[in-house]
Symmetry: C2
């Protein structure tokens, strides 16, 4: 049995999308047990009429919700009865619960996870690792993508170890090819932190480090893990998503400008729909916070049911692959200094 807590509130389509996604995951993952956190009456009202295995679903009553515009540290301190904080506290206190999923405020979730759940032994800084689809049908993990604005070479090595194990154990990639995000491929590119990190990654035996990556190659399929500071990683992920969205929007607008284009597009309807689905981040689940003692998955605020389902699958597969234990084992092989 793998127990996952789901924060049912805080997203644009909550609680419906959260509950629908959770039940979809329940239907496909035989060992899954769900704890749905949030206002009990609202959850029961949404569950009513849905068909699912009731013996594998519990409700954790939490009447309050943290909004995206609230100051993270205040929110988690003052809203102790919120669905997010109660789910995080359950994660901390209940040994049988392995992970949690939330689509609520990122800042509040990170603050709650770091202060309440704590870190795996040896981990200096937990880091976010979302995945994006690559052109050869695989995925690439980007770590960190927003939890740490400033990093040291040592932090970057830990991100590499954690993300490499994540991609290996959750996506089944053997010896993930790990790259360091930089402004050029040569070892001496970037500032001192990047130059040192390059050497450190090269010396780390557990890693299949393949060198620096320029951001234009992110989707090429040549890399399975890209390591970077949280600011650059955030830029990398959001620029990719933004460019894809804007280009699709332009293509759609252009199609409607002439009748012959509309006819052509009608013949290519299936292709466009597959293309759109390929680029839709909802299909790729959430951003996993690697390095906390239990796994926390952050879904987009705009997550639909499919996206929530994928987030739960990520937490489930991570637990099945014993990701936390493996991260600790690898991290503890190297000296790490708090900085």
């Amino acid at each position: 049995m793998i127990k996952i807590a789901v924060d049912c509130f805080g997203g644009d389509h909550s609680p419906q999308a959260n509950i629908e996604g959770a039940l979809a995951a329940l239907a496909t993952l035989p060992e899954l047990h769900l704890i749905l956190a949030g206002d009990e009456a609202a959850i029961r009202a949404d569950l009513a009429g849905r068909s699912y295995d009731e013996s594998r679903v519990e409700i954790l009553h939490a009447p309050d919700v943290i909004g995206c515009d609230e100051k993270p540290t205040d929110a988690i301190r003052l809203k102790r009865e919120s669905s997010m904080v109660k789910a995080v506290r359950l994660l901390r206190d209940d040994d049988t619960v392995s992970g949690m999923v939330s689509v609520g405020s990122t800042g509040a979730l990170v603050a709650a996870a770091l202060t309440r759940v704590g870190r795996l032994e040896g981990v200096i800084r937990p880091a976010f690792c979302p995945v994006l689809p690559t052109m050869n049908g695989g995925v690439v993990g980007i770590c960190d993508s927003g939890a740490n604005m400033e990093v040291t070479p040592d932090h970057l090595r830990q991100f590499a170890i954690m993300a490499s194990l994540y991609i290996q154990n959750v996506y089944g990639v053997e010896r993930p090819r790990v790259a360091l995000l930089n402004v050029g491929v040569e070892a001496e590119k970037g500032d001192a932190v990047h130059q040192e990190a390059y050497q450190l990654l090269k010396q780390t035996e557990s890693l299949n480090f393949v060198g620096n990556m320029e951001s234009r190659d992110l989707l090429s399929g040549k890399y399975d893990v890209v390591v970077c500071d949280g600011f650059s990683g955030n830029v990398l992920v959001k620029t990719t998503e933004g460019t894809a969205i804007e280009l699709l929007r332009k293509l759609k607008k252009d199609v409607f400008s002439r009748t012959i284009y509309k006819i052509g597009a009608a013949l290519m309807k299936r292709l466009f729909s597959d293309f759109k689905s390929f680029m839709d981040y909802q299909n790729y689940g959430g951003s996993v916070l690697l390095g906390t003692s239990k796994l926390v998955v952050k879904g987009h605020g705009s997550s639909n049911a499919l996206s929530v389902q994928r987030c739960i699958e990520q937490a489930y597969r991570a637990e099945l692959g014993e990701l936390g234990r493996k991260i600790e084992t690898e991290i503890l092989k190297y000296d790490h200094y708090e900085q």
Copy 2:
């Protein structure tokens, strides 16, 4: 008369593309005078048979070429007879020459420009400002995109002033909307440098500062100038280009998978061609190095003739708009500290 020096070597399609692009610019810009730097015999051989106004073209003989794999500081010190170094020296020594264009090694060009040409009065750090097309048919300038890996709030303010004047005077945008690249739109996002920079930009009267920008909005058309450190800017620009290229490649591949798609695509041929051209960086010229006492434009190493032509137009329009003088005037209104 506006005299621009063109480094005819160092690119993937040099010297043909450089010379063809230079002559195309000559044909459309009546005041333009060209100085073509490079091996005289090779340039004369390429010019032979082409029709152009010979009275407006000079050749600066330079038998050597700097390769992209050479160490920048060594290259500019040792290869004094290279087309790039001779063009830069001409820029320094000849008051009648207003700017130069090169598609050669970025590192060598920056090193040569900073050490030989020098900075405008008051400018702490020259910075690169490429432009990308936006969805409403305009452009957005990104400054810095690679010359300065680490920056202070003061640097960022200077980038904002320079890029704003560039977009205004070269692209005709009145009161360009300037944004600070950050991980969220709220004023308190990012590290201390970003928080301070936000306040500094807000207080700078010459600027039309509109707040933080998340990278997913780069192409939205809501911003004319985005200010950032050179590392993030590099990621921003290359991720956008890379995503566009990979998506177009995938679309093309998918089209060939079924006959009906090929028929549909045939009807949309013109649309796809316009779409490709819209995203083709060759149409948008080069990355201008703002803040040197004379303007240096860096084109892509893979520049074709059109791209070289656009680079020359950028240098020409900057001189016509008296960009250098305007930058000095604005920069000197504020205290700046060397750091």
